[in-house]
Symmetry: C2
Subunit: 344 residues, 2 copies
């Protein structure tokens, strides 16, 4: 729906006032809006119309207006001016991410910490998906008579290690055999192909020797599965309890959502590339129906990878959140790419 200029201006003013203060606003206060030189009666008419169209609502008959979720949606799509980030903020983000260490995981964890700090609500970040990754190399390190560590190096340069234990004494020769056979068979294969059927046929092809392999193969499968899946980092979730426009039930809902890794990961996996905003009922998950999510996918060498995301009540400074998330996402993707490229 296209709105007349003046209606847009009034709608934006109401929403921005509400985002800033959390209070409804009425026709009289709106007269102070820059560039709006009409009487309060005229504004009242416009407000009534915007309310009838579903953009605004009144908490009760004689309060001012506040946005509906539909109103927020229109604002986010058509009215909102992208916030311009202060240079100091940009440098702050850059520095924090740069000084967070040598592992991609650390950068990504830091990303969620600063998103939470700067936007003032709960934040999430995820490691890149390993969908396209392949096995590069698998190595073994013996760590005890019955235990050994497996090191998986993927084509994208990620490294995962995994302990496993056998009931028999492990010998260097045995590990050598495992090493040669596994790498011959798996090098260059997609991580997703390292599954149970593979393990069974692989072990079977070794006859008697294959009987010694299950523990080792389980470790390989685990490592591949974990490299495929994304890790999720959460920060500042207690901040939700301090948002006064968030009733306790909604805050609980979000906290529960964050704690339930299954539905959380499912939700996150369905978020497409770029910057996405989900307001209230637009969220597919029931525990988020009263919240808003802003999520940006960062890219590694132009490939959509993991997410940086914040979550809070629908009363949200969307413009600021988008600007900060996009800045964090940009640096995160860039720094991880640099890290991985030197690893090759």
């Amino acid at each position: 729906m296209k709105l007349a200029q003046r209606k847009q201006k009034i709608l934006a003013a109401v929403i921005e006032h509400y985002i800033a203060t959390g209070e409804p606003i009425g026709s009289k206060s709106l007269q102070n809006t820059e560039g709006l030189d009409v009487s309060s009666a005229t504004i009242r008419n416009e407000l009534a119309d915007l309310t009838a169209k579903g953009f605004l609502r009144q908490p009760h008959t004689s309060a001012g207006r506040i946005p509906t979720e539909y109103g927020y949606r229109y604002y986010v799509d058509s009215l909102m001016k992208p916030a311009v980030l202060d240079d100091r903020v940009k440098r702050y983000i850059e520095n924090r991410l740069l000084s967070s260490g040598d592992a991609p995981e650390h950068i990504i964890k830091t990303a969620s910490v600063i998103a939470s700090e700067l936007i003032g609500t709960a934040a999430l970040s995820t490691t890149p998906t390993g969908d396209n990754s392949r096995v590069h190399r698998i190595k073994f390190v013996q760590t005890g008579r019955h235990t050994s560590m497996l090191v998986l190096i993927t084509s994208s340069g990620m490294v995962k290690s995994r302990l496993f234990r056998c009931d028999f004494d492990i010998t260097p020769e045995m590990l050598n055999v495992f090493d040669r056979a596994l790498n011959e068979r798996l090098a260059g294969q997609p991580l997703s192909s390292v599954n149970r059927p593979f393990a069974q046929t692989f072990a079977a092809s070794f006859g008697e020797l294959g009987l010694l392999m299950p523990d080792m193969l389980n470790a390989v499968m685990d490592a591949c599965r974990e490299s495929l899946g994304t890790n999720v980092y959460t920060s500042g979730s207690t901040k939700l309890l301090y948002q006064d426009d968030f009733d306790l039930m909604s805050a609980r809902g979000v906290l529960e959502f964050l704690g339930d890794s299954d539905s959380r990961d499912k939700f996150l996996n369905n978020i497409p590339e770029g910057t996405n905003i989900y307001i209230g009922k637009e969220n597919s998950h029931i525990l988020l129906k009263r919240s808003a999510v802003v999520a940006t996918r960062y890219e590694i060498e132009n490939q959509p990878a993991g997410l940086i995301s914040v979550i809070g009540s629908t009363r949200f400074d969307y413009s600021k959140a988008v600007a900060i998330l996009e800045c964090i996402a940009e640096y995160t993707g860039k720094f991880i790419a640099e890290l991985l490229s030197v690893r090759q």
Copy 2:
């Protein structure tokens, strides 16, 4: 202070009623207490006395009595009968811990999950302290041109891995030199001795070659430091928000405490062996002044190791919590000991 039999009985009845219902109780309802055959007036006198002595208090003049923290303390020390755990609960705990995987970390994580489930509040568990651990063996695995993984095996059988990156090309010969030199120098040394002074003298003793070592030595120090420090797992912290006798402020306080790893770890490290109960102001940390902590240290081969702990409001089923925690601690210690012994 020693209390007369009847006073003890009344005190216990008040506390147990309050723990069970969260409601104050008055002289009349107390007449129904098993084995207490006196009039309500007599009970009133006793209550007045217990209140004067500081064991009980009234939320307001005309409400019944509820325990003070001092009352809880007396109850916990002298009145509380240890709860007897149902066999099915014991088996449940055993099974959950047994089926949680091959790594000590997984057992310990599961321990906090079931503590939280069974006791219905937030739970914490920590991995064993590595205070007495020594370096057993250090190994290297090359993972890229510029990166390598270091694997640290401690005397207690714990394994930690760590990635590091150098600015120069890593060669197998170089790793061999590192490997031999490090193990020669560090095998059998306490983890705590692997610190910066050590790294400096070590690198210096290699002259020119030592200039290539800093990245590698940092990784070694990191791995040792991490093995020394304990990991902390938290479960069910959102349960705090559902405890109706916990005002929002206190719940927030505890959540904040749990999120601040520095003060949390400091607090946990100071908890001695055995089972400990801290009620309200007895807690050294200000954010816990309105909460209660029950913590049991599990033992590995008769050595005090990590903690299993629950945290909630001072209205707490202490008896049940102690029984469950001690059961979990027993199995946790036992299973980890088994795991480590076969690793040698």
